[in-house]
């Protein structure tokens, strides 16, 4: 456990204070949401920043509000609360499924939506103790020279591990990000760089404070997740598909690439073509309990099933 003498634990009560604190510790802070991911990474020595800024005391980040335009979900809303939110249940059942797919009920009582969106990318060779990573010879993502999972490539293919991100991207959601002196809004999709080394496109001290899901778009959605057990496990493949009232189709695939794999089209397009695009885009490697080839193959099966799920909701 970290008992570094310089350990700092800060607990701001406002977003403004949080961002200010981050500015004061610009190179050595981490924001802490629920912590179920970050803290385990810290125990394993993958994060040793001395200053933790725990956001859980910021009341504003826990709010869910609805307008005609947006469902606005505070970044610190716990996944368990999201799953039971009446607007989510009524308007965005796919988001309910995605939240429910994360971890276990115990995890979901602490883990937050913002935290899940920014859950660190995962790899069999990265999510290990310091001793283990020394023994295997340190990969790119932890100060080594090569990717061990691929046997020597010079890029990191750690996988996107958020289950809610694919669904939110399918729902064309935005994030509201507090930066020093300002608040900016950007598509959820733009949070992700697609680079396993530095998977998140956020400036220093930036704080994701809310997720905005557009209302009134008439989304029909489907969500599926591949894992060995029915609880606890991180995803080996997450698929989210949406079709809006205008006939716009969005396919988002997670856990098979350093970032979300997004394919857009319309209901007029050949579905098989869209699925094939997603299949081709995914940079799957052997860094998971399921072999690469199987995960790749399942992209097609899961997406076909997602479309079938959507057809079934339409026919009802």
């Amino acid at each position: 456990m970290n008992t570094h003498p310089d350990s700092l634990y800060l607990r701001p009560l406002t977003v403004r204070d949080a961002v200010r604190m981050a500015g004061e510790h610009i190179n050595d802070h981490r924001y802490l949401a629920g912590g179920t991911d970050l803290l385990v990474n810290r125990f394993q020595g993958n994060d040793a920043t001395p200053c933790l800024i725990d956001l859980s005391g910021i009341e504003a980040l826990h709010q869910v509000t609805v307008t005609d335009q947006w469902l606005r979900i505070g970044a610190l809303v716990r996944l368990n609360d999201l799953m039971t939110d009446p607007t989510v249940l009524a308007e965005f059942p796919g988001l309910q499924l995605a939240a429910h797919a994360v971890g276990s009920p115990m995890i979901r009582r602490t883990a937050t939506l913002g935290g899940n969106l920014l859950c660190e990318n995962r790899c069999s060779f990265y999510n290990q103790s310091e001793w283990w990573r020394d023994a295997v010879g340190r990969c790119l993502k932890c100060d080594g020279d090569i990717c061990i999972a691929t046997g020597g490539r010079k890029a990191c293919f750690s996988k996107l591990s958020s289950d809610t991100a694919p669904m939110l991207i399918a729902l064309d959601a935005q994030v509201e990000v507090a930066v020093p002196g300002d608040t900016i809004t950007m598509p959820v999709r733009d949070l992700y760089t697609g680079d396993g080394m530095a998977p998140f496109a956020l400036p220093p001290a930036a704080l994701v404070q809310a997720v905005l899901v557009p209302m009134g778009r008439g989304f029909r959605t489907a969500f599926r997740k591949l894992r060995r057990r029915e609880a606890v496990d991180f995803s080996s493949l997450t698929t989210a598909v949406s079709v809006d009232a205008a006939g716009k189709v969005r396919i988002v695939v997670g856990a098979v690439d350093p970032g979300p794999v997004v394919v857009e089209g319309t209901t007029a397009d050949d579905r098989a073509e869209l699925i094939l695009k997603a299949f081709k885009k995914a940079r799957v490697i052997d860094n998971d309990t399921f072999p690469r080839t199987y995960r790749k193959e399942m992209i097609t099966v899961f997406l076909e099933r997602c479309f079938a799920d959507i057809d079934a909701t339409t026919n009802n």
Partner: protein, 931 residues
Amino acid sequence: MARIQLTINDREYDLLIGAHDMLSTVIREKAGLKGTKVGCSQGSCGACTVLVNDEPVLACVTPAMRCHQARITTIEGLALQGTPHLLQQKFVEKGAIQCGFCTPGMVLTALHHVEQEHDNSVDGIKEALSGNLCRCTGYKKIIEAVAEYAQEVASGSTVPAAEVPEGMVGTSRPYLEAARKAQGTATYADDLAPVNALHVRFLRSPHPHARILRIDTAAALALPGVRYVATGEELPTPFGVLPISQDETAMAIGKTRYIGEIVAAVAADTEAIANKACSLVEVDYEPIRSFLTMEDSLADTGEHEKIHAHTRGTNNVHKKAELRFGDQAKGLAEAEVVSRMDFTMEGVNHGFTEPHAASAYWDENGLTVTTATQVTHYLHRALAKVLELPLHRVRVIKPTVGGGFGGKSDPFPHEMIVAHLARRTGRPTRTCLSREEVFLTNHGRHPSRMTIQLGADRDGTLKVLDADIVIDGGAYGSFGVVTSYYNGVLLQAPYKLDNFGFVTRRVYTNKPQSGAMRGHGAVNSRFAVESLIDDISHRIGMDPVELRMKNFLDANTLTVGQYRITSNGSRESIQAVARSSGWSERRGNLPDGRGLGVGCGFFISGSALPIIRNDLPQSTVHLKVDFDGRVLITSGANDIGQGSDTMLAIIVGEVLGIDMERLFVLGADTLLTPVDLGSYSSRVTFMAGNAAKDAAEQLRAAIANAVAVRHDVPQAELVFAGARVHSNDRRVDLSWEEAIEALTAGRGAVSVSGKYISPKLGGDFKGAGAGLSPSYSFGACVAEVEVDPQTGHVKVLDVWGAHDCGKALNPLAVEGQLEGSWHMGIGQALSEEMRYHEGLLVNNNFLDYRIPTTLDTPTIHTHIIETMDPEGPFGAKECGEGALHPVIPAIANAIFNAVGVRVTKLPIHAEDVLALIKAKAAHNEPIPQRP
């Protein structure tokens, strides 16, 4: 450091803590409340669950500072003025507690669910508990306890606890210590760490096979707070559980043999300092060629150095075990149908929820070690040997143990090291392994590969079995020589086979060592043989239940290898599961993708031969009764959550006609308790139970004699029942205390000693001793699965299990053992495996090593079969291991029934099932047996 105020269980705390300390650390180490357990330190097991402002949270991943001024309820806070919470009572009454390590977290999670959520159906409860792992119970009794509590909360009326009838044997009752476990007051090894103990941490090898050229401990020693740094040469004496495999030292000497082997150990004031010091120890290694696969180790090593110099050949074969009866080549040539298949099984780990933990101190009595162990006796001997002490200067205490399953049945390096460091520093020492270290310590089931041929006639009569087996022992011996035999010999039943042979080669590899795990040695080969039987039934068109019925051995017979079979409930077992699963009506009439499969099992009920040849009984039990009438039972048997202390009390109570209140069990403390060999080979009920019965009968005779003399009544007239001793005509009718008064008059406290010695058994050939047991257990399972033909995903929907335990001394406990065994088998069948990358264990935690959650566990239907074993205590024999055997093949055979593919690899991965389905389609074979 940071200051924090907390209210825990209505008491206010003002503490100075590390700014980044987790809540679990603060609760356990600062507030001293040890009821909160830590099983994984990463939020994957749920053992550490506490309520923060009435919400359950995982204390191991919750920063303590977040809880500043919060109200916290730990398991200790639920009972009101000493009265357990109703939910805790339900856990006790329903038998929802075995080892008890997951119980605090499970209770708190369940309590919140029932109070806050609306879905208290079984599915709702399963969902709610799916983040809390239990390795013992298979969740069935936990769900029952929660469901009944929920029903009572909803209805406002209490379902009274089933009245426990007066009798002892055959009456369901909770474990003696269940209430303590439910309330978090049972103390496990790490809870008992001595005050002022130094923390011991280990430096582990990053190389699978490497010479150690130099170790420099100077920088580590210079770190403030470091009290000692030890290296291998200080403890040069080898040890191992088997006398023939003394091949391990406490720390590596000269070279390391697996990634994770201990190279140096530090004792320091805090865990953090000890960890830091480990990183400062400098070691120069010279890697040498490593042997990571069974093929590597079977092959000639050429110019490369063998893993162990003592092995005979020029390869890394540790043991070759071979026995043959009849002529297999001839049998196979003559058999009308022969099924031959190659099988591969990955290694699996016990996954007990309590990590290894131990502490040590020295005083005027010599060395005392308190440790989570199944084998106090063998550890006693090993500590004396390695620390070069007379046996009478070593005391080993077994506290409450959070599960073992064979994983705590060896003497371990960390136990030697804490003792050594306590001696060197003059301070008590403690250590608790991380979950990663537990996996590296391993001793789990051997990875195996085997080719087995089974021949039969077209009428279904089994004629011949020949098995060629290789098992991967990892770096050291452990129980491996026994495992080598068990893989083969335990195939000679439950079916009559006149022509039977096997050869097993156990190889050393540069990986964490394999050892004994629940169902020891025979689980993998049983899966193989039951799959072959299924194949033969399919090929000759005979119902697999019928085929098995035709081939079962009878009771009171000898096997081909001269095992003496006494009681035998094979037929009753398979009939029970066939009946309750609707086998004959439903099989063949299920929807697409669904299938039913059956498998059987066979296991020893205690090894008839002790590990260390000597003339001591295998178990000795002492009883002492003094003026107060309480009977103290002392036994070296290790209760590790399987309920053996309760079993001893039941047997003594039955003989003496007294209730639990008058019985006290003191277990497994080598200073105070007579020798029992330990909890392995499913021996305790049979052997310690018989020793307890012997002792109780002696005590009864002594009491009868005293009463007869004092009250002038023939001894034969006396009845012991209902805590009274009376003559048949009730002319003499004494309370228990009056009878004890007669016994102790002029004599004082009376002690008696009972024993169990196995009868002489077995044949007169080399290897005849392997698998000998005074009795054997039998069983059967039917599984129903659903297979997704597009993904290969297998879901087990139901398991019907039956097990012949001779006589259920405590049916509630027997059910718990069976359900836990089936659950563990489901894990090995579908989701559990130890995966390596170049000798480095990849999935060394409870996130990636996948023990089935509530949601992965099917509905389990439990049948106890009783056959009244002639030599078991009151007819009892084992129930804790053998039940695991049939469930894995039942699942595999159900997959065949569902989609027509034969799976020969464990675990059964979706990707493999899918590949088989596709291969079958490519051959244009229609999926046969479409139910």
